[in-house]
């Protein structure tokens, strides 16, 4: 009996402790994209070790998941910053506004390339977006040129185009929850899809159908969802030289001794090519800051400053060693001043 009373007492104490804890928080909480995670963690660690503030806690929830948590409300129990490997959507801005979050700061941190890569033991692939689309779409235009869709019959790369090697199509890539997959669908698949004029014309009539045709990935085997773990894809590529992987450029940088990027539309995914925009499959990385939390949570301003410093995301910043592609300097200056002046996000244009 005594025991149970003490347990109940302990529980009550713990519960009150938890409320007082949420009433005052001195650590920045960050959620969001798994692509930005490797960059944000490096910044957070340096920030924590070189200043008197606590090291921010970063949770990798995916871009969509992060924005959902971010837009839940203002207050210490909600995250202060969310990372995103795509821009915020109007839907999410509305969601935020509904919860009373109207003042957001948008900071772009740079670019990330999405690479199509295989093992160094195999030949370098040279693909076009059109070939990527024809290899991975669930339905493709009839080869005889008729304006009708047929189920994708391609089994080997050679089926797609006679210039490609005669090996089975086996592509390891991220699942639909991933921002990398969204970007791959939008940039590579849709890019290839658009090269068929009659498919492009569908966009004007029926946007939804156009997206379904152009951005979907086939589910009959050749495309293998390998989970959010890009390292696993790299390991599988090493084990199987016939397989091709789709993942972020930073993983190619770290594993450049065993895997190689493929040409896409004749351009190799190198630092220079992604930075100057020649490489066609790259996207912008962002983070969003809740302005109302600046001043309440200690260190927010300083974290923003650290993240947007020249030594971090500038041309030779330390994040470039981790595979981040820096912005051109005019664009960089714009976001640095936004971070210094805490300029609010004006909405999508």
């Amino acid at each position: 009996m005594k025991k149970s009373i003490s347990i109940i007492a302990a529980l009550i104490v713990m519960a009150t402790m938890s409320f007082t804890a949420s009433a005052a928080r001195d650590t920045i909480k960050i959620v969001g994209s798994s692509t930005v995670y490797p960059f944000a963690t490096v910044v957070a660690e340096r920030f924590g070790k070189s200043t008197k503030f606590n090291t921010p806690v970063i949770e990798s929830t995916g871009s969509g998941g992060g924005l959902k948590l971010f837009c839940k409300g203002v207050g210490v129990e909600h995250p202060d910053i969310t990372n995103a490997s795509r821009r915020i959507k109007q839907k999410e801005i509305d969601l935020c506004a509904k919860a009373g979050i109207t003042d957001i700061i948008e900071i772009k941190i740079g670019y990330d390339g999405i690479v199509v890569a295989n093992s160094k033991r195999a030949d370098t692939l040279s693909l076009t977006k059109r070939q990527i689309f024809l290899a991975l779409a669930p339905e493709i235009p009839h080869p005889n040129g008729a304006k009708q869709l047929i189920k994708n019959p391609h089994k080997t790369w050679k089926d797609v185009d006679s210039s490609l090697p005669n090996v089975a199509i086996e592509v390891l890539g991220p699942p639909p929850t991933s921002g990398t997959r969204d970007a791959f669908g939008e940039l590579a698949m849709e890019g290839g899809c658009k090269t068929f004029k009659w498919l492009k014309d569908i966009k004007k009539e029926n946007k939804k159908r156009y997206k379904a045709i152009c951005r979907s990935v086939r589910e009959d085997g050749p495309y293998i969802e390998a989970g959010e773990n890009d390292n696993l894809i790299v390991q599988k590529l090493n084990a199987n030289p016939k397989a091709v992987g789709v993942f972020g450029y930073s993983f190619l940088v770290e594993n450049s001794d065993s895997i190689q990027g493929s040409f896409v539309d004749g351009v190799l995914p190198t630092f220079e090519n992604i930075a100057n925009g020649d490489y066609g499959v790259s996207r912008s990385l962002y983070f969003y800051v809740k302005k109302d939390h600046i001043g309440t949570i200690p260190g927010m301003k300083e974290y923003l400053r650290e993240f947007t410093a020249d030594k971090t995301i500038g041309q030779d910043g330390y994040l470039t060693e981790k595979g981040l592609i820096p912005m051109p300097s005019s664009e960089y200056k714009q976001f640095r001043s936004a971070a210094r002046k805490l300029t609010s996000f004006k909405g999508l244009n």
């Binding site: 025991k3 149970s4 347990i7 302990a10 529980l11 713990m14 519960a15 402790m17 938890s18 409320f19 804890a21 949420s22 928080r25 650590t27 909480k29 995670y37 490797p38 944000a40 963690t41 490096v42 957070a44 660690e45 924590g48 070790k49 070189s50 606590n54 090291t55 806690v57 970063i58 949770e59 990798s60 129990e77 160094k120 959010e228 773990n229 890009d230 390292n231 696993l232 930073s250 993983f251 940088v253 770290e254 594993n255 450049s256 001794d257 330390y318 981790k322 595979g323």
Partner: protein, 432 residues
């Protein structure tokens, strides 16, 4: 007479005839048993040897002996001894200057960058904190053993193929040359990697450790035990000794057995909805993790405790009741103490499962990058299995061996817990 003897001989004959077949089937059965055990053992050996093979090298780390001159001109040019001033001094330059003493010819920007990258970028932070702790060091020369950068460490451990073209590997030709030179001078040595056990997470493999995750796991298990054990035992005693046997208690029993088999991720979702969204407890906190794991372990403890209570012979109860003890006295003074070792054993095994659990923790935000080591169950924290998951996903090569090392640490604690359970059982087990 003769008839009966011939009858018995015919039985012997039948028996003899089938004997060979019976021996053979017994032999085959044993063979199957041994094969399956060997098979399981082989898997275990492959599993362990691959983890140990990958992970053992993470317990050492290459270090370089250097002397660093704490130049007052760089640290505190105006001789203010002002803490803020000293905090923001350029310690990278001090490290670079002392590295340059080894290789005075380094001049181009590329070479400077490569030289800087020989040692861990935590070195300057370490000097910063040394200076901030003791400002009288300024102007003196420090002899330090500093960590090499993880890429160089990987090279020393033979994980980098230097026959490849320079552009295709993480370390440059210059770095290979310099490292080899420093090594022949005897300045580089492999030392025990104490950081692995004394630091929190980091994005630089050479600065990463499991202590934060270890303490997070400890807090979680503590809360799990505090919450689940008393409640589980109390529920078991009530159900076993006091509850009337009717449809309702049968229903409860079926549900408890079902709960024990519910996938753990569901408890994570429950924890997210109840503890975080409803009660407003902080995300990523071991408190919430502990409560979720307590919910998960609770049915296991009830089942184990009931089994322990059932194994106490009825003679004990009968004797106690016979000499006039009340039901409560019988249960708490006689049955419960005898069943306690069994209950503890069951609970420890349940907790060991909780220690290795990561799925429910994903839902409540424990999969986070946490550098600071938690000091209370309310601080954000990782847990051991989650740390393994995070490191397995990190792009840096140095984390491959550290992932395996973290698995070894986790396995060690599981082994300790399970051995404790066996030890408790053997020590207190009473044969009736």
């Amino acid at each position: 007479m003769s008839n009966s003897s011939s009858n018995s001989s015919s039985i012997t004959e039948i028996v003899n005839k089938g004997l060979k077949k019976r021996y053979r089937s017994e032999f085959m059965f044993r063979l199957y048993g041994i094969t399956s055990i060997l098979f399981a053992a082989a898997f275990l050996i492959v599993f362990f040897s691959s983890i140990i093979d990958k992970g053992y090298s993470a317990f050492t780390q290459g270090e370089l002996n250097i002397s660093i001159y704490l130049d007052p001109e760089i640290i505190d040019p105006d001789n203010t001894r002002d803490e803020e001033e000293i905090r923001y001094a350029n310690y990278d330059k001090l490290v670079f200057d002392s590295l340059k003493n080894f290789f005075p010819s380094v001049s181009s920007r590329k070479e400077r960058k490569e030289l800087k990258a020989l040692v861990s970028n935590g070195t300057s932070l370490r000097i910063q904190s040394l200076v901030l702790d003791d400002m009288s060091l300024i102007g003196k020369t420090l002899d330090l053993s500093v960590k090499l950068d993880s890429d160089i460490d990987m090279f020393l451990k033979g994980n980098v193929d230097i026959t490849l073209d320079e552009s295709q590997r993480r370390i440059s030709d210059n770095q290979v040359k310099w490292t080899n030179e420093l090594k022949t001078k005897g300045l580089i040595s492999q030392k025990f990697n104490s950081t692995l056990f004394s630091a929190g997470d980091s994005r630089e493999p050479e600065q990463a450790g499991v202590l934060g995750a270890l303490i997070g796991s400890f807090f979680m298990l503590l809360i799990t035990f505090i919450v689940a054990f008393p409640l589980g035992v109390a529920a078991a005693i009530y159900l076993e000794e006091f509850a009337p046997k009717n449809k309702f208690t049968d229903f409860v029993e079926v549900n408890i057995n079902n709960l024990a088999a519910v996938p753990s991720i569901i408890y994570g979702l429950l924890g997210l909805a109840v503890f975080i969204n409803f009660f407003g407890m902080p995300r990523s906190a071991p408190l919430v993790g502990g409560l979720v794991l307590a919910l998960m372990t609770f049915p296991v403890i009830i089942i184990a405790s009931r089994a322990a209570l059932q194994s106490v012979p009825p003679s004990i109860t009968d004797a106690a009741l016979g000499v006039g003890a009340s039901k409560i006295q019988t249960v708490f003074d006689h049955v419960f103490p005898l069943a306690l070792p069994g209950m503890l054993t069951g609970s420890i095994i349940g907790m060991a499962r909780a220690l290795g659990e990561s799925a429910p923790l994903l839902m409540i935000g424990m999969v986070a990058f946490v550098v600071d080591i938690p000091s209370t169950p309310l601080d954000a924290s990782a847990a051991l299995p989650v740390q393994v998951y995070l490191w397995a996903d990190a792009p840096e090569r140095g984390f491959v061996e550290r992932t395996s090392a973290a698995i070894l640490v986790l396995l060690f604690f599981l082994l300790v817990m399970n051995s404790t359970a066996i030890w408790l059982r053997n020590k207190f087990e009473i044969k009736w």
